[in-house]
């Protein structure tokens, strides 16, 4: 059942050293900044972070990296004009990078959440990013075997949750949230607002509460839906 937490510190309690943490967001849209700040206070280290980008500016994911808590980043696009924290750590050889095409990142987590052992995908076939991977020609086209990415923890952001953990998102801040919610042992969600069961139209629920373990209201989000 979904637990409603009073604070972000309570929400991230128990994240272990060495954990794989799926972090939602595309740039700053959908980035669970309050949960990341709580994870920095919580102190878990030697983390593997799976996120589309590798942090922006000095806050959120960049601050977690700067605090030396992350051993490895799995992402599609670490190169941004304001990702200097990652750039420095990477150039100094202090952080490992697994670069994954964005669709493979999403689909590998989808596979983890859906109980799929691995899948053949044409993306990246014949490129550096497929080197060393098993391949197979299917319908005349080269495919690459891709394995699931499973998280111990997912930190995501949604617009509204009810007390059952049913989630709706806001605009393009949805991005990786619904996929990551399915792919982690413990899914933790920061939301703008919490409503009672029955207040969300079941037809518009994007992530059903069965995928959500903990919810915390942080409120600090963009304007009206």
């Amino acid at each position: 059942m979904t637990e409603v937490c009073a604070t972000t510190d309570e929400a991230v309690a128990g994240v272990a050293d060495g954990a794989t943490v799926l972090v939602g967001g595309f740039g700053l849209a959908g980035m669970p900044s309050a949960l990341i700040d709580a994870l920095i206070r919580q102190g878990a280290t030697d983390l593997t972070v799976v996120c589309n980008n590798a942090g922006n500016g000095e806050t959120g994911l960049a601050a977690l990296l700067a605090a030396g808590r992350v051993r490895k980043v799995v992402c599609s696009f670490p190169r941004q004009s304001d990702s200097w924290v990652f750039d420095r750590l990477y150039r100094e050889g202090r952080i490992e990078l697994e670069l994954v095409p964005q669709g493979n990142l999403a689909e590998r987590m989808r596979a983890a959440g859906a109980g799929i052992g691995a899948f053949y995908c044409p993306t990246g076939a014949g490129t550096l990013l497929a080197e060393g991977k098993e391949t197979r020609v299917i319908d005349g086209r080269l495919h690459v075997l891709e394995h699931p990415i499973r998280g111990d923890v997912a930190l995501i952001k949604a617009r509204v949750s009810d007390r059952m953990g049913n989630l709706v998102y806001r605009k393009t801040a949805r991005n990786f949230g619904p996929v990551m919610a399915t792919a982690a042992t413990t899914t933790i969600v920061e939301v703008h607002s919490l409503v009672e069961p029955g207040e969300l139209d079941p037809e518009v629920v994007v992530t059903p509460g069965i995928f959500v373990d903990r919810v915390v209201v942080t409120g600090d989000q963009e304007g009206p839906a």
């Binding site: 493979n104 689909e107 993306t123 949805r174 949230g177």
Partner: protein
């Protein structure tokens, strides 16, 4: 020399805005389209609203509108380049696995990408220069390159020092193998395929001059096929 190459010799090369307009002209009305980060994004400025073209953005939206200004700016509503945009009537939002199913699954009619290099048979290199201190980043380029029904590339045909970017074999790391259908450049529009490169149009330079400047064999354009049939538009 093929008769059916259209040589625009009464003018110079296309500037960036003219190139974007030239690409836009070949996108059929009613298409679902993804425009890559950077120069390809400017193609949107030349799509006619009445064309019914629907723009997809990889971060989970169909029906993307123009860049947001003033009070429209909402950081929950951004494009693949993380620039605030707007939504058009009939827009929809979806998560990343669905967004890349749209891209990889052959549902987009056209995508437009930039490139460092393209080979005559359509190999694409646009994600990594291989420079030792470069931070590699691929984003959705590999999924788009192999997934859209038609892949257009827009770029200058030569680097600033005059080196051709249309090559026999790419020297930069590949984004996709044999995936580019058509190349739009400042001086030529070139169809690519398993047989090689076919020049369809030139701007500010004769086809014969292009043959001298490029180190790839150029096929003769089909003589008796009307241009509209060649472009399939």
């Amino acid at each position: 020399m093929s008769r059916s190459v259209i040589e625009h010799l009464d003018r110079g090369p296309l500037d960036r805005d003219e190139l974007a307009a030239r690409v836009a002209r070949d996108i059929p009305a009613g298409s679902y389209v993804n425009l890559g980060i950077g120069q390809p994004t400017t193609v949107a400025n030349h799509l006619r609203p009445e064309s019914g073209i629907v723009l997809h953005t990889e971060n989970g939206m169909l029906g993307m509108g123009p860049e947001a200004t003033g009070d429209q700016i909402d950081f929950d509503l951004i494009n693949a380049g993380k620039v605030p945009v707007t939504e058009l009537p009939g827009a929809s939002y979806f998560h990343h696995a669905d967004s890349f199913a749209i891209m990889r699954g052959g549902h987009l009619d056209v995508c437009v990408l930039g490139a460092f290099q393209v080979s005559a048979c359509g190999d694409l290199a646009n994600w990594h220069t291989g420079a030792p201190d470069a931070i590699p980043a691929v984003g959705g380029a590999m999924d788009l390159a192999i997934g859209a029904k038609r892949v257009f590339v827009m770029m200058t045909l030569f680097t600033k020092d005059g080196t051709p970017k249309l090559v026999r074999d790419c020297t930069y790391p590949l984004t996709g193998v044999r995936c580019v259908d058509r190349l739009y450049t400042d001086v030529a529009v070139i169809e690519l395929g398993p047989q090689g490169a076919t020049v369809l149009e030139t701007y500010g330079l004769a086809h014969s001059r292009l043959v001298e400047l490029l180190d790839v064999p150029l096929l003769d354009a089909p003589m008796d096929v009307p241009y509209a049939a060649v472009e399939g538009a």
